[in-house]
């Protein structure tokens, strides 16, 4: 029997479902727990140039028998979770980058105790990369409504990139910088709670 996946069907499905485009994505919020923790909302995230939907991988485990290799599912890993990269336009005040650098200092500060536990005033802080630190990202449709939302859990800052300036030969180009975060895992509407909760 001939396949029904013909060009007319493709056209019908394309018209009915459309396609996601490379700008159908928004980062809604980045909230890093604790006093002085970084909070980026829409006023800041409107400067984000790039972002991506997170990936999930089941590690392949092989078992051999009678000369044949069988591929079995192993543990889950969240590919790229150690470095979720984003690129930001840098506003003239550089306030977003400065706040990211402050968060980087807060994440590792050996002496003032503000990373975890309590600060010098005894104010209890959220745990770095704990469950209350998260990032919410949306995949959008053509009318900019979220169709799928992901919550990256346990977000913690990693790399704040440099900005190179052209003092002598600059042409007024808008500068950008990269930043990366890590997270433990992500949740979305399609991943229900199971006994292993990932």
């Amino acid at each position: 029997m001939a396949t029904d996946q013909i060009i007319e069907k493709f056209f019908q499905q394309a018209v009915a479902n459309d396609f996601t485009r490379d700008y159908h994505f928004r980062i809604e919020s980045i909230v890093l727990a604790g006093q002085g923790g970084l909070v980026l909302n829409s006023n800041d995230l409107v400067f984000a140039r790039t972002g991506k939907l997170p990936a999930r991988n089941i590690v392949n485990q092989t078992v051999k028998y009678a000369g044949q290799t069988f591929n079995l599912p192993g543990a889950v890993e969240f590919t790229g979770s150690e470095a979720y990269e984003m690129e930001f336009y840098c506003p003239e005040s550089s306030n977003i980058r400065e706040r990211l650098l402050s968060e980087s200092m807060r994440t590792f500060n050996a002496f003032d105790g503000s990373a975890t536990g309590v600060n010098n005033s005894g104010y209890p802080l959220g745990t770095i990369a704990g469950p209350n630190s998260y990032m919410v990202v949306h995949q959008l449709n053509k009318i900019l409504e979220p169709v799928v939302s992901y919550k990256l859990v346990g977000v913690s800052i990693r790399n704040v990139g440099d900005i190179a300036y052209e003092i002598a030969e600059g042409s007024g180009a808008i500068k950008t910088f990269n930043v990366s975060f890590s997270y433990h895992f992500f949740e979305n509407d399609n991943i229900g709670p199971g006994p292993f909760r990932r």
């Binding site: 078992v63 028998y65 079995l72 543990a75 536990g117 006994p195």
Partner: protein
């Protein structure tokens, strides 16, 4: 269309079997450990006697969030049968003791071409087998806060205990795997070690090479053990 493999193919048979839960390869990361002192009050008093500086104390009161509290408070550590149980979170690895008995040779001298027989000897003694558990070092360090004073106390008290006055603990190791029918978190093995005491902890070193995760290894002796499959 691809031709299906013939029925007598060993690969097909293997695939049929491995598709059944009983023969599927288990998840090896789904396990946890509980350590439950047999007589918590006596245990705590003995540790206090020998090790005033070894416990997490604040004006004489054991800090509620300490790992010692996890050990002593059953509602925190939870019974292994509890569906919410997750054991001691800072246990990073565990080596279960082997089981063996000795074999010796039964023969007369000069047997020529005849095979010398094998005779069963004794089962491995308790001193020749131990449990090894790796504990993640956290800010309130379980190793130096609980294990070190425990070893020191056991050194004074010895391994003979009276019922109701014991510094020993029971260690349970539960292993889980993927769903089996309606059971979403089936337990596939349970090892229970009775009357356990830590007797050796490894040395630790400090350097300036960079931040790292420390897992400190502890050996435990036990009196007896049991195990259950499924």
């Amino acid at each position: 269309m691809a031709t299906a493999l013939p029925n007598y193919s060993p690969a097909n048979r293997f695939l049929d079997l491995i598709s059944k839960w009983e023969y599927d390869v288990p998840l090896t990361t789904q396990w946890f450990v509980t350590i439950t002192p047999k007589n918590p009050t006596y245990f705590l008093s003995k540790l206090n006697d020998k090790n005033n500086s070894g416990l997490f104390k604040d004006n004489g009161v054991i800090l509620g969030g300490s790992q010692l509290n996890l050990l002593l408070n059953s509602s925190v550590q939870k019974n292994i049968e509890d569906p919410d149980a997750s054991g001691l979170f800072f246990v990073q690895n565990i080596k279960l003791p082997k089981e063996a008995f000795t074999i010796s040779t039964a023969a007369v001298e000069s047997m020529g071409g005849y095979l010398k027989g094998a005779v069963a000897g004794d089962r491995l003694s308790l001193s020749e087998r131990s449990i090894n558990i790796g504990f993640l070092e956290t800010n309130l360090d379980f190793n130096d806060g609980v294990i070190r004073p425990w070893i020191i106390t056991a050194g004074y008290e010895g391994l003979v205990s009276v019922k109701g006055s014991s510094i020993k603990a029971d260690i349970r190791v539960a292993q889980y795997t993927k769903a089996r029918g309606s059971d979403k978190k089936p337990r596939r093995k349970l090892f229970e070690f009775f009357d356990c005491v830590p007797y050796s902890m490894g040395e630790s070193s400090l350097d300036y090479e960079g931040e790292k995760i420390n897992v400190n290894s502890v050996d435990w002796v036990f009196n007896n053990y049991s195990y259950a499959i499924v």
